[in-house]
């Protein structure tokens, strides 16, 4: 008992230290580099161009990286737990396809400046929410959730949204096409601090909601009917967690575009290292996702500076390599 909880405690402490280290690293490296003591001085004095760079550019990106990385990774843990399928990730349910389709419609029909800079995130979020509700209501039969049916419907809607988006992309102007592709590739460059705060508080709320259902989600590892036998209200648990994971993904995609791989790779790496108990996997995946995305963002904005690489390129490359390495060193069966 003690050794398990000790391992859990240590893993949270190590990840928290890594997170603080990553945040400091991301604050200090960029076009202008700062030492740790300089960063402390800049935040104490709260004046000058250096303060603007740190507080208005780097810190919001870090907050967004932590929130989006945490949210996507948490959604991955939830959905893999509900479906008992290690290959499910937040985008399997068609959420990213829906969001991208929403954004594509807005750009193609010239609605993107209708309510200023909020239009693209709002249309992405609406696209994601519509997809989620379509999947949700089509999957319910006689007030019961069939999770396999839900997964299949999600995959089909994802394909349909992709096809519809490709149709829009093939018929629109090259300027619009560029805007759509740029949005789809994903970026943590979000100038609006309000949106950054929305994503941050949403992901923390999602974490708390998931923890409220962590025992139930853990029991779902045995399968829906066995969890029911253990007294779990599986219908309620699956509904709440599905909506939580979907909204977390929807909000993340709406603000930062389609950043792939986080929701699939981070939970798996941590499952191999720490174990599959959802009570610890939820928090470690959140922290791990945040660390991973902040680091990927740091690489994407510095590797070919002053230009920036799409963050999805870095998450895919690094995530894939690390995952294959951990998997090859592990005796764990996936």
């Amino acid at each position: 008992m003690k050794s398990k909880y000790l391992k859990w405690g240590l893993s949270v402490i190590i990840l928290s230290i890594l997170l603080i280290g990553t945040i400091l690293l991301a604050l200090s490296i960029g076009e202008i580099n700062f030492s740790i003591s300089e960063i402390i001085d800049i935040f104490k004095n709260k004046t000058g161009i250096e303060y603007t760079i740190l507080s208005k550019i780097r810190l919001p990106r870090i907050m967004l990286g932590l929130s989006v990385g945490g949210a996507l990774s948490l959604s991955g843990v939830i959905l893999q737990g509900i479906y008992r399928n290690p290959l499910v990730e937040p985008y399997t349910m068609g959420i990213s396809g829906g969001a991208a389709f929403g954004v594509a419609i807005t750009i193609v029909f010239g609605l993107n400046m209708l309510i200023g800079s909020y239009m693209l995130p709002i249309s992405g979020f609406i696209g994601a929410v519509v997809t989620v509700f379509l999947v949700y209501f089509l999957a319910i039969r006689k007030n019961h959730f069939n999770i396999n049916r839900m997964l299949l419907i999600g995959v089909m809607i994802s394909f349909m949204a992709s096809s519809a988006m490709m149709f829009l992309m093939s018929t629109t102007s090259s300027e619009n096409l560029h805007s759509i592709v740029f949005w789809v590739m994903g970026s943590l460059d979000e100038p609006d601090s309000f949106l950054v705060k929305v994503v941050f508080f949403s992901s923390i709320s999602g974490l708390l909601i998931t923890y409220f259902f962590s025992n139930q989600l853990n029991a779902l590892r045995l399968g829906e009917s066995k969890a029911k036998h253990l007294g779990v209200n599986t219908n309620l648990t699956i509904r709440v967690l599905f909506i939580t994971a979907s909204l977390l993904t929807g909000i993340s995609v709406a603000v930062s575009g389609v950043i792939g791989f986080v929701g699939l790779v981070i939970p798996h790496i941590l499952r191999i290292i720490i174990g599959a108990d959802l009570r610890i996997l939820i928090i470690t995946s959140f922290l791990g996702g945040g660390i991973f995305l902040i680091l990927c963002d740091l690489i994407s904005r510095t590797i070919i500076a002053p230009n920036e690489l799409p963050i999805g390129v870095i998450t895919g490359m690094i995530g894939g390599l690390v995952f294959i390495f951990v998997l090859s060193k592990s005796k764990f069966n996936i």
Partner: protein
């Protein structure tokens, strides 16, 4: 005064058409009851109705005078525990798996298992002989060992009624006997009421003190193994010729099958 398990005129079934037809049943506290019957006779449907997996279209089920439709799923899981045919879970240690049996007693936001949960889990792991595998993953155990761990997990729920769905169906005879000996010991020592679906009539006759024989969604006969495992009932329900005799040691009924070739040669 109701019996420990009281099933009153239940009707339930599937959209495919099969249903149980107004089943009435009483099971005594501390009894070891087996449900037997051919495939499609309604054993699993009855089992699912009692466990609450299948909702009732009529009638009621009482366990220890409590109407099971009027209690929460958590309260139900404290009253009865279910052991299924197979466990099929890979990435969980035996200790964590047995600790999941404490799930019905957890409060919201109680993330960690209490010391008392560990004490109870270890008590039943010792009783089932699974404590020696406690740090192994479930997927590393043999079918028989997995089944013993499942029983330990069910016991950790500290139920009043233990429901088992063909617990020996994938096991060799040595593990079949090991699992059933354990269930018999639990029934006698812990005074646990046991209700078990079982296909093997010989095992049913040897271990159960009460048998329910199902046929076409109804109860064909209920009684002691000697009353139920009579060649006439078996032939009526299974449409198969059998010979029943007494086990010379236990004096319980034993059922012998007869092949078509022998039947033809003997011109019975």
């Amino acid at each position: 005064m109701k019996q420990f398990v009281n099933i009153e005129n239940i009707v339930c079934g599937y959209s495919s058409g099969f249903k149980l037809k107004e089943i009435c049943l009483e099971i005594k506290k501390g009894s070891f009851t087996g449900i037997v019957g051919p495939n499609g006779s309604g054993k699993t449907t009855l089992f699912k109705a009692i466990s609450g997996e299948l909702s009732l279209k009529g009638g009621s089920i009482f366990i220890n005078n409590t109407d099971t439709s009027k209690i929460s799923s958590k309260q139900k899981a404290q009253k009865m525990a279910i052991v299924s045919q197979n466990t099929e879970i890979a990435d969980i240690t035996v200790e964590d798996y047995v600790l999941l049996g404490r799930m019905p007693y957890k409060k919201p936001f109680q993330l960690l298992d209490k010391q008392s949960d560990y004490t109870i889990a270890h008590k039943y792991m010792n009783l089932t002989g699974t404590v020696k595998f406690k740090d192994k993953l479930m997927c590393e155990l043999s079918g028989g060992e997995q089944q013993l761990a499942s029983i330990a997990r069910a016991l950790a729920q500290e139920p009043e009624l233990l429901l088992l769905d063909e617990p020996t169906s994938h096991l060799d005879i040595s593990h079949q006997v090991q699992v059933l000996n354990l269930i018999q010991r639990l029934n006698e020592e812990l005074k646990l009421t046991v209700l078990m679906i079982i296909h093997d009539l010989n095992l049913a006759g040897e271990y159960c003190d009460n048998l329910i024989m199902m046929n076409n969604g109804t109860i064909h006969i209920q009684g002691s193994p000697e009353e139920v495992l009579n060649y006439q009932h078996i032939e009526d329900v299974y449409k198969t010729v059998v010979i029943t005799q007494q086990n010379p040691l236990s004096k319980k009924p034993a059922v012998f099958l007869v092949s078509e070739k022998i039947l033809n040669s003997k011109k019975i």
